[in-house]
Structure formats: structure tokens, C-alpha cells
Amino acid sequence: MSLVDDAPIYEVFGQRDALSFATYVGSVRAASLELALLLARETYFRREKIFDMWVVPKESVTHARAFDATLLMGSMDKEYRLPSGYDNAPIWKQFKAQAQTIEEVALDVAPPARSSSS
């Protein structure tokens, strides 16, 4: 094994702006945290403007798939847990009222588009 192969692997996450969630993009092999950040920027964020980057030592990441009891089983019916599981609009219509969605409410109270920073 070479010195290069002995260097640790870091998982890389990018955060597009202050209000977005950091997303996993890939990994780098580097000799230190600082170098991992540098390499991550050069490898994954050469073009897009990025608000923040995280690098995490690979061993620090624990995968749920390694512990089968921790993941949700796919086939269960969870419709009752989703907004799409409710068809209220036709009933509101019978009462001659408009159905509302949370997106409309959010738009209704959003500040005027002045804070378009970055």
C-alpha cells in the first residue's frame, strides 16, 4: 500500500444556500480535514456557488442498512399519513368552499421577495 492509499476517505456534503439542507455528493481521499475540504471543492464544486461544505471521516458514518430493523419496510400502506391520502376538495366544493393547501398558506405569509440574497 502506498502513502496515498493509507490516507483516509472523507464523505462530502454540499449546502447550496443558508436555508437548504446539506446533500451528499460523493467522497474524497485526503491526508487531513483541511485538504479534504480543498479537494472536495475542486472535485465537486468547481462551478456552482456553494454556501457551505461538510467533510466527514468515512468511518464516522453509520449506515442504517447495516442494521435491518432500523429501516421502514416499503410495502406498508401509509396513505393515512400523507396529505394525498385525503380527498377533501370535492367535499369542500359541496359546501361551496375552496379547498386549501399548505403551499397557499405559506405563500400568503411569505415576506415580499426582497430577501433574494444569493
Partner: protein, 319 residues
């Protein structure tokens, strides 16, 4: 991030320019205090908000309703935990941790929303909580998506997405009752009568106190109490009337002239204030007793779990 300079004036300028503050960034002490007060109260209210609905899980009329109500309660407890993590990070420099923050409600050191001190005597109350209480909370929380404190704004994205189901669930129960028999419609009417004045109080006094004013200056929040209440009234009065239900507030009417302000009767400010400050509401003590049972009665389980895992880790390390 490190754009934030160590002076209050520059900090306020940065925020006014739309910049966000993150965990670990420098912030003025009073900004931190206001955030802790807001997020701590929000977290505890999510948790206390699960209790009125929990009462109805075993009486829910169908298995679908039972599953849904249970799912909503799980969401609210989850919201409490997400927000508690933020309050923990903010409180750490002050030497206060998670157990302190959870204990505070038992010692009366943190308030929770007035609506969760009220009783929910019928199934219609369970529906009206989703319809009006979640409806009101959604308006407030959607406003907070623009908060200057980025961790709060980000967490609220997740929370608001889940609230979408709460809104549809509450409306579904209310619509079913409104489409039902005279007995069901009367039950719904009674529940609306019970919750309306509590919702008028929910958004806070007409004139905001100095702390809430500070929160506006710091853009922790972006709308006044009255602006939020007006949004709520404008959205819900027409819906309640469309269902053929009435509101017993005789002062309730909308100005025909712009800005079309809605007039309404003041809730009993003193009664509700006493309730939130001294836990004197109809159900305050009963629900705090449940919370105490969970917090203190299950302390042994939390500690046992922590100890068991500590032992396993030590064993793994020595292998």
C-alpha cells in the same frame, strides 16, 4: 456565517440585508435569549400538544382515523424533538442541557400554548384541533420559514411539510361531521364554539410587548400578532360559515374598506394569560401530570439505555 461581525449594529445590518445566522455563529446575547425563549416554548408546545389528541386515540371511530390520529401525534412529538435539539445547541453556552429544557415545563419555567391547556370533550374536538389549532399553527410556522435563524427556518421546512397532513386530516374529520347527522353537526358546532376564543388568544395580544418587537427587529419573526390573527380569521371564517356553522362572536365583521380589517371580540385575556403563566387551565394540571409521568417516571429507562450502550461500546473497544 463569519460575515457576522462582533458588533450588534453590524449584526442587525447583516440580518436586514437578508443574511442568515447559523449554529455556532456569533450572535448578540439578547438575540440568543429571544431564540431560546421562542424555540424552547415551541418545542414544549409540540410535545404538550400531543396530549389532547392522545385522549382520543382509543375512541377514534374507525381504524383509519385511529391510525391517522396516532400518526399525527407521532409527528408532533417528533417536532418537539427536532426543535429541542435547536434549543439545546443555543442553551449549551449558558450551561443548560436537554434534561433542564424538558424539566422546565414541570417547574413552570417555560410556557406552552393556551390551546393545549383546554379540554377536548368530544371527537369533534379532535377534528377541530387539526382544523383550527393546526391551521393557526401552520400560519405562524409558515411565517417563521423566513426567520433569520437558519437552523430554525430549515427545521420548519420539514415541520411544515408534515403539517400538511395534519391540516388535511383535521379538515377531513370536520367535513365528515359537517356532512353527517344533526347530532354530528351539533357536536361540531359545540367544538367550534369552544375553540374559537382560544384561537383568538393563540396569536397573542393586539399590541406586542417589547420582546416580540425585538423579535421583529431581529427578523426572528416577520409578522405581528395582529397580522397573523387577521390571516387566520380571513382564512377560517368563510370556511366555517360555508359548513353551515356559526361563530357566536357578534363583533365579528370585516371592514368593507381597505385594508379590510376583521373586527372581533377580545378573548378573555386575563383568564388565558393566567392559564399559560400559572397552568390554571381546565386541563393544565392533568396534562402536566402525564408529562411528569413520562419525564420522571421513565428516567430509569433513559438511563438504563444509556448505560447499556456505554457498556457495549467499552466492550467493543477492548476486544
Amino acid at each position: 456565517m463569519d460575515l457576522m461581525h462582533h458588533s450588534k449594529e453590524e449584526f442587525i445590518e447583516q440580518i436586514a440585508a437578508g443574511n442568515k445566522v447559523d449554529t455556532g455563529d456569533w450572535m448578540p446575547d439578547d438575540y440568543r435569549q429571544l431564540l431560546i425563549k421562542q424555540i424552547h416554548m415551541h418545542a414544549i408546545s409540540e410535545i404538550m400538544g400531543a396530549y389532547p389528541e392522545k385522549e382520543w386515540v382509543k375512541y377514534a371511530p374507525t381504524i383509519q382515523r385511529k391510525l391517522a390520529l396516532n400518526a399525527k401525534i407521532q409527528d408532533e412529538i417528533g417536532h418537539g424533538h427536532m426543535l429541542l435539539r435547536l434549543a439545546e445547541d443555543l442553551s449549551a453556552p449558558l450551561g443548560r442541557g436537554r434534561e433542564d429544557l424538558l424539566h422546565d415545563v414541570l417547574d413552570g419555567r417555560v410556557k406552552f400554548h393556551n390551546v393545549f391547556h383546554m379540554s377536548a370533550p368530544s371527537w369533534a374536538d379532535a377534528g377541530v384541533i387539526g382544523f383550527l389549532v393546526d391551521g393557526g399553527a401552520i400560519i405562524t410556522q409558515a411565517m417563521l420559514l423566513a426567520s433569520s435563524y437558519a437552523p430554525y427556518a430549515r427545521m420548519l421546512k420539514r415541520i411544515v411539510a408534515e403539517e400538511s397532513f395534519h391540516m388535511q386530516f383535521g379538515e377531513s374529520v370536520v367535513l365528515a361531521l359537517a356532512s353527517g347527522t344533526e347530532v354530528q353537526r351539533e357536536m361540531l358546532q359545540q367544538a367550534i364554539n369552544r375553540w374559537w376564543p382560544a384561537m383568538m388568544f393563540f396569536f397573542g395580544p393586539r399590541e406586542m410587548g417589547p420582546q416580540s418587537q425585538r423579535m421583529l427587529e431581529y427578523r426572528i419573526r416577520t409578522m405581528t400578532n395582529e397580522e397573523l390573527r387577521q390571516k387566520f380569521i380571513a382564512r377560517y371564517v368563510p370556511r366555517i360559515h360555508a359548513l353551515g356553522m356559526t361563530l357566536s362572536d357578534h363583533e365579528l365583521y370585516q371592514d368593507p374598506d381597505p385594508p379590510h380589517f376583521w373586527h372581533y371580540t377580545d378573548p378573555d385575556w386575563d383568564w388565558f394569560n393566567d392559564m399559560v403563566h400559572h397552568n390554571t387551565g381546565p386541563m393544565s394540571q392533568a396534562r402536566l401530570a402525564l408529562r411528569r409521568g413520562a419525564q420522571e417516571g421513565l428516567a430509569w429507562a433513559r438511563h438504563a439505555a444509556l448505560q447499556a450502550h456505554a457498556t457495549i461500546d467499552v466492550r467493543a473497544a477492548t476486544l
